[in-house]
């Protein structure tokens, strides 16, 4: 029997984005070592920069509601250039998976399993991930976003309360006392490493039901929740650790190490470690899933499941050869990655959006009368504000009149708010 509805609910998707960003709170050492006590300002800067970025992503997705990132690239750039970019993205996703995998294994090894070989940890972890990718599609992956986000927020708030006695708010001083160049560098790191990595979610947006207001609030909401969590974590770490924060590779872990509840429950950080493992599982599995489906689309496989173990094995291998040790990884996280990743995360989407605009492939929201040539009409219904179409609506060269189309979009938005996703197609076919 069919699952209840194919589309993923927009709010679920938002929490998936939030959870993805939250899971990066571990990696604060990349930029904390640069800006020290001012790092919390950097997070706010990054949030401001992410607003236009989220808008770019949202516009890009809404312009092609039935396509994912690869579909968009191939439509905009054509077969060969688009294919080349797709290949680059597959590589990008793959490297991200490997990097996060090795991050996780290093983390587990350094915190709870000091004597276990690294490969055992990555292997078991990736096996669990592979199972998740195998049995679950997007719907399953998204489902845990809310649960994990809430658990993470609860834990962060709890640790803040527990470490209140250790906090010294003078640690924030002096504010804005460093060179401006450092702020720019750190902001770049924050934007590229946790926040703009959500470009991986563009691979799945064609299965998301965004609701009335489109994708922008969803993406921005996800970023905001994740950002607030990271902000809380950083501020807690700064107040507890002070200037020494730049010395540690895992600052939040050091903070929690100092927490103890009435002398009996010391070592709270292990609990935190488990939560982080769960969050990183979410992140790695998403990356893994996106890598697999992007490789499937790039290599034109019928079934993505055949690629799971192959890509998993390569990811484990490459995770061991990418960097010789954690220090090099950290170094490149500060100096190389922030210069390379923006190509994929910011420049390419922006350029794609601009080119698509100039080629007349996008449509403005809620207006339907300007471009009625066949290429745009095929997407006309799709650009309506609800943005929740069945994929079957793409190829039909239907030429709806303006009023009809608007009534259709109205119908859809109504149907989108009520729970009946099954009615969608029917209403649409009636109205168009």
């Amino acid at each position: 029997m069919k699952p209840e509805s194919k589309k993923v609910h927009g709010l679920d998707f938002m929490f998936a984005v939030a959870c993805y960003i939250q899971s990066s709170s571990l990696l604060s050492s990349f930029f904390v070592s640069i800006t020290r006590q001012d790092s919390w300002i950097i997070v706010l800067f990054a949030l401001i920069i992410c607003c236009p970025l989220a808008w770019i992503y949202a516009r890009l997705v809404e312009s092609f509601p039935t396509k994912n990132l690869f579909g968009i690239l191939q439509t905009v750039y054509g077969k060969y250039l688009g294919g080349f970019f797709c290949g680059l993205y597959v590589l990008f996703f793959f490297i991200l998976t490997s990097l996060n995998l090795i991050d996780l294994s290093e983390f587990v090894k350094s915190t709870i399993m000091p004597q276990t070989p690294l490969v055992v940890l990555s292997f078991t972890f990736l096996l669990t991930s592979a199972w998740a990718v195998f049995v679950g599609g997007l719907r399953q992956m998204v489902k845990y976003g809310f649960l994990m986000t809430m658990i993470c927020l609860l834990i962060v708030i709890a640790t803040i309360l527990l470490s209140l006695n250790l906090m010294d708010f003078e640690n924030f001083l002096p504010v804005m006392d460093l060179k401006p160049k450092k702020y720019i560098q750190a902001t770049n790191i924050v934007v590229t490493i946790p926040f703009a990595e959500i470009i991986i979610f563009l691979m799945t947006t064609n299965h998301v039901q965004s609701g009335k207001r489109g994708f922008f609030p969803i993406i921005l909401g996800g970023i905001a929740i994740g950002c607030i969590t990271i902000l809380l974590v950083i501020m807690r770490d700064i107040t507890v650790l002070g200037n020494a924060i730049s010395l540690f590779s895992l600052p939040s872990f050091e903070t929690l190490r100092m927490v103890s509840v009435t002398q009996t429950l010391s070592r709270m950080e292990i609990v935190f470690a488990f939560i982080l493992i769960a969050l990183l599982f979410f992140k790695v599995t998403w990356l893994y899933y996106v890598t697999v489906i992007s490789a499937k689309q790039f290599l034109r496989f019928q079934d993505h499941r055949r690629l799971i173990l192959l890509i998993g094995a390569s990811a484990i291998t490459s995770s061991f050869i990418l960097y010789p040790n954690f220090l090099v990884h950290n170094e490149s996280g500060q100096k190389i990655i922030p210069l390379v990743w923006p190509i994929f995360e910011i420049i390419l989407p922006l350029v794609t959006l601009i080119i698509a605009k100039f080629r007349g492939m996008t449509r403005k929201r809620q207006t339907g009368s300007e471009n009625q040539n066949s290429s745009s009409a095929s997407k006309s219904a799709a650009a309506s504000p609800s943005g929740s179409q069945s994929p079957s609506g793409t190829g039909k060269p239907s030429l709806p009149t303006d009023s009809k189309e608007q009534s259709g979009s109205k119908f859809q938005s109504n149907a989108g708010t009520s729970s009946g996703t099954g009615q969608h197609g029917d209403l649409r076919s009636q109205s168009v």
């Binding site: 709010l11 399993m113 489902k143 292990i270």
Partner: protein, 553 residues
Amino acid sequence: MIWDLLGRKIGFYSHRQSSGTQQKNEKKPEPEKKKDSRDPEIMDRLEENLTYIENLLGKSGDIKMHRFRLGKNRECPAALLFVDGLINQKVISDEILYPILSMDYTVPSSRQDGRQRIDQLQEKVLCSGDTQILTKLSQVAAGILSGDAVLLVEGCAVGLSVSAKGWEKRGVTEPETESVVRGPREGFTENFRTNTSLLRRKIKSPSLRMEQMTIGRKTLTNVCISYLEGVANPQVVQEVRERLSRLDIDSVLDAGYLEEYIEDAPFSIFATVGYTEKPDVAAAKILEGRVAIITDGSPFVLTAPLLFIETFQTAEDYYIRPLFASLMRILRYIAYFISVFLPGIYIALTTYHQELIPTTLLLTIASAREGTPFPAFFEALIMIFSFEILREAGLRLPRPVGQAVSIVGALIMGDAAVSAGLVGAPMVITIALTTVSGFIIPEQNDSMSLLRLITMVFAAALGGYGICLCFLGLLVHLGSLSSFGVTYFNGLSISRDLEDSIVRMPLWFMTKRPARIAKRDMTRRKYFVPPDPRPTASATGGISDSGAKGDGS
């Protein structure tokens, strides 16, 4: 072994193909074949009919054929067939035989209008409300075997079945699996009609449907699909109907047979079909848009689709006040977590992460474990297995002996094992807590026992990391399950039915039916109206004026 398996598979496919072609072939010449020897119609000679039935049923002692003569002058031979023990003797004598033999009427004499004889009996003579004209001899056999009395008359090519069902049955008692402190105490019984009537009495709405079918080639068990038309998702109802009608099995002795054939994930540790023994629970589930499957001979009514959170909701949650009910529900989640993960956590702590235990407790545990020979994992395994053995023994033994088992279990396993130095006292406490909290959610007891073992193995191999992996794997598995097209584990994701998942909100707060199960008629009431103690408040809102008021008898 592989060849065996392969052979079976080939056999299965060829059977499916051939049965498909057979059906196609058989469809065309059906009208001519109707009068074949396998399924003959009732003949107008009484003795031939009786001989056929006698041959069909063999010389069984409980099948009675009462021969007598009809009419004013006793000119027309007839026979009444029934199975002794399945019928009510009073009905046979007072409603069938007495009117036939005592009333003054003439039997139509000619053979041409033999049908009229039966019609006359049905319309004018018999004092029964449930009669049915039969045309085939196989129907006659099926009728008497299911507890009807069948009247055959000389010169009539039809039979008349009169319902006279009346066999020994258990009364409606309090169910033992789901006892409550507050709330209705009646439970389903093994009797099919009693069960359907119990449901009808809970939901008097005309849109309650009871679709009846017969399953099992040998047992011919009555099965009934019950749902609320206009509330239940028609796709789910259709799915249940299809899965049940696809069944081609020999026997159905309990609802468990059906469950195993229709469930979504046969190899999962989680059940995807629910069951209940209480009519009020079944009614509540039907009102939420689920489908109930009532099986003849089983006091358990299956409900589908089942959600994970549903097993944490008990009937009593809705009968007691919401704050306490919510607390109990949270407690159940915690108990589930304890029951699955506590042995694993204990093993991981004592084997890998000793530094996590507070120092004083660590010293206590260390001194308790000093004399024990086994590693923590084996200790836990021994304790768990001995507990499961004791539980199983206590379950199957007759009550008086059961006490002995509990004494032996408590004294020997608990006390003696510790004092003999086989297991440490902390381990006994851990396992005791684990198993006791396992009983809080009886529906998940089986899944918990299995999960506990898996977690222990992972904890022994990889410590806390292993437990973490186990937890994640559990989430993955839960997420991949679905029950009749409804996602099994969704109660913890946002935006759907949160008012009745982790906590139980007040009843007046829950204005909508659960969105994932019911698809139409979602609104229970339009606005949520808190109870208003002011005397001016209109009190007529909740009372429906449609339909007759039940007299409550």
